[in-house]
Symmetry: C2
Subunit: 187 residues, 2 copies
């Protein structure tokens, strides 16, 4: 299966919750991990470690790598770089998703912020600029739609290895089961 | 076309950016408006007004309505209430989306936070509990996937009425056009 790693650019400490949401969405929708470019934020690391420990899987968070280093390394290893931006090719109206899939290569998926480096829009650094609609947007929302469309929904049926907590879906109430299949809470 | 209005529950002032992202995602993906339940936050109102003024459409933000009042009024007027939650029926593995569509009724879509009122899980207040995967998640990401699947992508081709700013999608760079079709910036 094609691996997708998210590169989060433009994180500021006051964005902690937003970046945490980007990481949670990435994990829930089958990304392999996330690189927090240029900065480190231990609070986010702690949150993600705790989620992975309890809910399973092997989602990783790498922090502090300069974005140019991350992009260069990725391309050297043969991966493609996709930049999510409202200015890019519309995922619904163009064939950009087919062209990305046709590369059959792992993807570094850049999720930016309001003012991103102009290099993100240039073929010097990125291979595709993709818009989840050409309107002002949330990077967290754009990421989610991209992953759901790329994996065609299969990501939502995935089981997470070594999970201590598992939700049993239900029409009403909550059904959360611990590792030993003891019911923790039903309300 | 079925109208979807988002009800954002659990906003705290420190969540300003996150709630703004929920509103931007809602607007970009074809929701009619958003109700910020129980609290008011003028900063968000200002941001959304500015986006609508420049980028068009008629997305509205209503603030301060108690959630019980909003839900009661909605059901009285014949609408259905859908609650997005990791505990709900999996949108991929169940037929919940078909059942929602089969109602042919407008939707109030609750986007919560970590600790939501237990009433959200009860048929006393909501009609469907829907999970965008049963993992810890971002409400902004869940909202985006729900809207993209509900409108089947058509929301991403929509033109916004009275827009002063329009993006012309392109493979590289930015192409932003003003109301009078003067190019503002190409980089």
């Amino acid at each position: 299966m094609t691996k997708i790693i998210v590169l989060r650019w433009g994180h500021r400490i006051r964005d902690e919750r937003l970046t945490t949401h980007v990481a949670l969405a990435a994990r829930a929708l089958n990304a392999t991990g996330m690189i927090l470019a240029d900065v480190k934020d231990e609070k986010i690391q702690k949150t993600i470690n705790s989620v992975v420990k309890n809910w399973g899987g092997s989602f990783f968070l790498e922090m502090g790598t300069p974005w140019k280093t991350a992009l260069s390394n990725w391309r050297t290893r043969g991966g493609v770089v996709v930049h999510l931006t409202a200015y890019g090719e519309n995922i619904q109206e163009s064939d950009v998703m087919q062209r990305i899939k046709a590369t059959h290569r792992d993807i570094l998926l850049i999720v930016g912020s309001q003012k991103v480096p102009s290099g993100f829009f240039s073929s010097e650094w990125t291979d595709f600029n993709v818009a989840i609609g050409n309107q002002p947007h949330s990077e967290c929302a754009s990421l989610a739609v991209f992953l759901d469309r790329f994996y065609e929904g299969s990501e939502l049926s995935r089981k997470f290895k070594d999970a201590k907590l598992v939700i049993i879906p239900c029409r009403n109430g909550k059904n959360l089961v611990s590792k030993n299949l003891e019911k923790l809470k039903i309300t």
